[in-house]
Amino acid sequence: MAGQIQPVVQTAGLCKTFKDFWRRPHVEAVKDLDLEIKPGEVFGLLGPNGSGKTTTIKMLLGLLYPTKGRISVLGKPPTDVSVKARIGFLPEESYLYRFLVAHETLDYYGRLFRLPARIRSERSDRLLDMVGLRQEARRRVGEYSKGMARRIGLAQALINDPEFLILDEPTTGLDPIGARQIKDVIRELGKKGKTILLSSHILADVEDVCDRVTILYGGQQWAAGDIGELLCKTDATQITTPSLSEKTIAQVRDLIFRLEQKDILDISNPRVRLEDFFLRIVGEAQAANIRTSGARGGGEIPDFLKQPTESSTQEVVDSLVFAASQKVDPVPIQAPLPPEATGEPSSEVIQQLMGSESAKTTPEPVEAATERPRPARPDRPREKPSADASVIDELLGRAKQETEGHSEDKR
């Protein structure tokens, strides 16, 4: 239909039943899965081990065939070869050829995308810079540590500048720098309008980068919706300021009680996240030029990945129409899990402040929520905190300087 944005992924009644030797149904890995991923979305596929995440991804990629149901990826069946030119895939393990060196690995996958030799070479160099393996580019991948192999896996997934990126457990086996870098890449690509499907059971990763999530269990979808709305505690307000004196805190407490008849629930100094702390320490070690045969901090995200996905007039119009349609025709969010609360600050908060046991009663489940402006979340990396940015920028900046140093050497 004209004006409607085609979902990047759409499944309807998707089922996958594995059969035993005698062709009898053995395991139902995925049951009646209806999934829709819109263009430009960072979509999280969550679930414990064996919940059907990887099976779903394999079906989206045409590696497994559905037992029942329909799949459309970028408007075509997943077995359509032309679709795959627009997809990047990082599997749950790296599955690289042990006998190839890193550069040859990227070159091989670039050839499969029919990229010209010059572009293959340029992109391979830049991606190796990005994942911090430029100096190890001539080593056989078989000699790499698991984390280094994951980094090459990420690089190969990006060699074609994919429109749709599928990352299956991308941070598994990576050190915090690598994990952080993958999240940065996801954010950067998300900003540029790429669509990303992220499958993980590391919830912090998903929370950091995803716009929407769906939670699978036993091959079935149990929850789906905008991550901000699913996780937002609307019954409390958090204000972060520079450190305050006891006197000021007492005055604020008085003021809040006078105006709202409510007390402050918690006053504490914010903690730095362990990830940020780790990155700062490693950054200091790198600044001291400590030798390592492993992966470096990683470099800047290559320019070719920073190009917006869509640029034509029609596509701009489409994106505007898409934005409008988002408002007019909101996507319902299922929320079968009991939410914390919704709407205005309720009496529960007061009761909680008063220490009433009744405040612990389970709130009523919400109806399908509507699309709303995302609530401000100070801990969300989308609005990246300055502490995070400084550390990663420091690492990236150093890598960039090194890269520039290399290029000067070459000259």
Binding site: V27, A29, G62, V81, Y95, L100, R111, L112, R114
Partner: protein, 468 residues
């Protein structure tokens, strides 16, 4: 084609870097370079070269066949190691993937054949230079004229033996000789009689003469050129020196051919070659040869031998139609055609079975293709002569085996039909027609069918497995 080529290149790199190809290269090198120092043939130069080429080329063929089967492990490994996930999620069709693998195997095989061909050629010349001669002049001439050439063979035209057989049959019938024969079959009897006349014709009694006619001897008839008569005889009695004496006379002067005679004094029971001037071939490209069973050497006694030209060792005229080098090239093309088919079979098996099973199945087909003629003979023998001795269960089993053979016959080509090693070793021409038959029958038909089947099966299978 870019994608197919990318996969083929990758396959070649894998073969080399995973050292599989290198191991086989070393083995082939050991065989080809080591054989000249361990094989002497019949101690003559020709024998040494023939033995070297025969063993060297056969061993190379077998080793490359094994390499081809082992190389198909690449596909199995990618399925088991899941590297295929990263390939199949790129814009690569299943047919491109299978074809790329096959192309990679074929290119590696072609490269190996090229290396082995060049080495064999070099080693032949090395043997020629260094082998200690029995009679230097004779040895080298024999090698150059009878081995390191490409000769076309024309067998003698046999007289029609059916007429005398028919006449005798009629006479026997009139005389009632067949009246008491149970289950009498006239056709079988006529064939038997014809065979009897043919056998008689092949025998030349003492002081008797036999005429051999050869047609279509399309050689260069210039006087300085030669054609060769090749034959092998059995002799009833011979002198104590195990040598028989006879006289050959070539050419029919009434047909415009020069007549020459060649007395021969030759060892019994071996192949012999007599060189005849090419202008002994008549204008109509026929050659007449008269064989006299008499001793032409004066002062020697006449041995009253009976000389027999066996059917299996027919008398033939050989004349040069090409060079040894091109013969060697064409032989290698025939070998490559066989390896191309085998590669397709190995890939087909790997798309269906796990590698150990696929390997076993591929080897079985390789052996069956190489021994198809033998199997056919064995099964025919069993069913014809021994069926009556079997119990019904055994007869059933034999018939079942015959049916299995018939299926194999349709699917698996007869590699022996395309085995040109014996021809090359004997200096026979490996004809272009032969090569074209292999290219068409083996590659364009059977290999394409097998590859198509492999692609179809691979297209239908899921490359991922249960992981819940």
């Amino acid at each position: 084609m870019t994608t197919v080529w990318a996969i083929a290149r990758h396959m070649i790199a894998e073969g080399i870097r995973m050292k599989l190809a290198l191991v086989f290269l070393v083995l082939i090198g050991l065989v080809v370079l080591g054989l000249p120092f361990s094989i002497s043939g019949d101690s003559s130069l020709t024998g040494a070269v023939q033995s070297f080429m025969s063993y060297g080329l056969s061993a190379t063929g077998v080793l490359l066949g094994m390499l081809t089967i082992f190389m198909s492990r690449s596909l199995a490994d990618e399925l088991v190691g899941h590297q295929i996930f990263l390939v199949m999620t790129k814009p690569v069709s299943r047919w491109q993937y299978v074809l790329g693998k096959w192309l990679g195997m074929t290119i590696l095989n072609a490269a190996f054949l090229l290396c082995s061909g060049v080495t064999i050629y070099g080693m032949v010349h090395y043997i020629k230079r260094t082998h200690p001669p029995i009679d230097d002049r004779y040895d080298k001439a024999e090698l150059n004229n009878e081995v390191l050439v490409a000769r076309h063979a024309v067998r003698c035209t046999l007289p029609d033996f059916t007429k005398p057989a028919e006449m005798e049959f009629e006479q026997n019938l009139e005389e009632g000789l067949y009246d008491s024969v149970p289950d009498f079959d006239p056709a079988v009897e006529k064939t038997r009689l014809a065979s009897k006349y043919e056998a008689r014709w092949r025998v030349v009694g003492p002081l008797q003469m036999r005429v051999f006619e050869f047609e279509n001897v399309l050689c260069d008839r210039s006087p300085d050129n030669h054609v060769q008569i090749r034959y092998k005889t059995d002799v009833s009695e011979f002198a104590s020196d195990e040598i028989f004496r006879a006289l050959w006379v070539f050419g029919d002067p009434f047909m415009g051919a020069r007549q020459v005679s060649r007395p021969v004094r030759q060892v019994v029971g071996r192949y012999h070659t007599v060189h005849v001037p090419a202008d002994s071939v008549a204008d109509d490209h026929t050659l007449t040869a008269y064989f006299y069973n008499e001793n032409p050497y004066e002062g020697e006694p006449q041995y009253r031998n009976i000389i027999e030209f066996r059917k299996s060792n027919e008398v033939a005229v050989l004349f040069i139609v090409g060079s040894f080098e091109w013969n060697l090239v064409r032989l290698h093309i025939l070998m490559l055609c066989k390896l191309m088919f085998l590669g397709a079979v190995a890939l087909l098996m790997t798309t269906v079975f796990s590698f150990p099973v696929a390997c076993l199945a591929s080897f079985t087909i390789y052996v069956l293709a190489g021994t198809r003629s033998f199997i056919k003979e064995a099964l025919d023998f069993s069913s014809d002569d021994f069926a009556t001795m079997f119990t019904s269960m055994k007869e059933f089993f034999v018939q079942l085996m015959m049916q299995v053979y018939n299926v194999i016959h349709w699917i698996i080509p007869d590699f022996a039909k395309f085995d040109a090693v014996e021809s090359l070793v004997n200096g026979r021409n490996v004809s272009l027609v032969w090569v074209l038959q292999a290219v068409f029958g083996l590659v364009l038909v059977k290999t394409v069918i097998v590859l198509g089947l492999a692609i179809l099966l691979f297209h239908r299978r899921e490359v991922a497995e249960v992981s819940v």
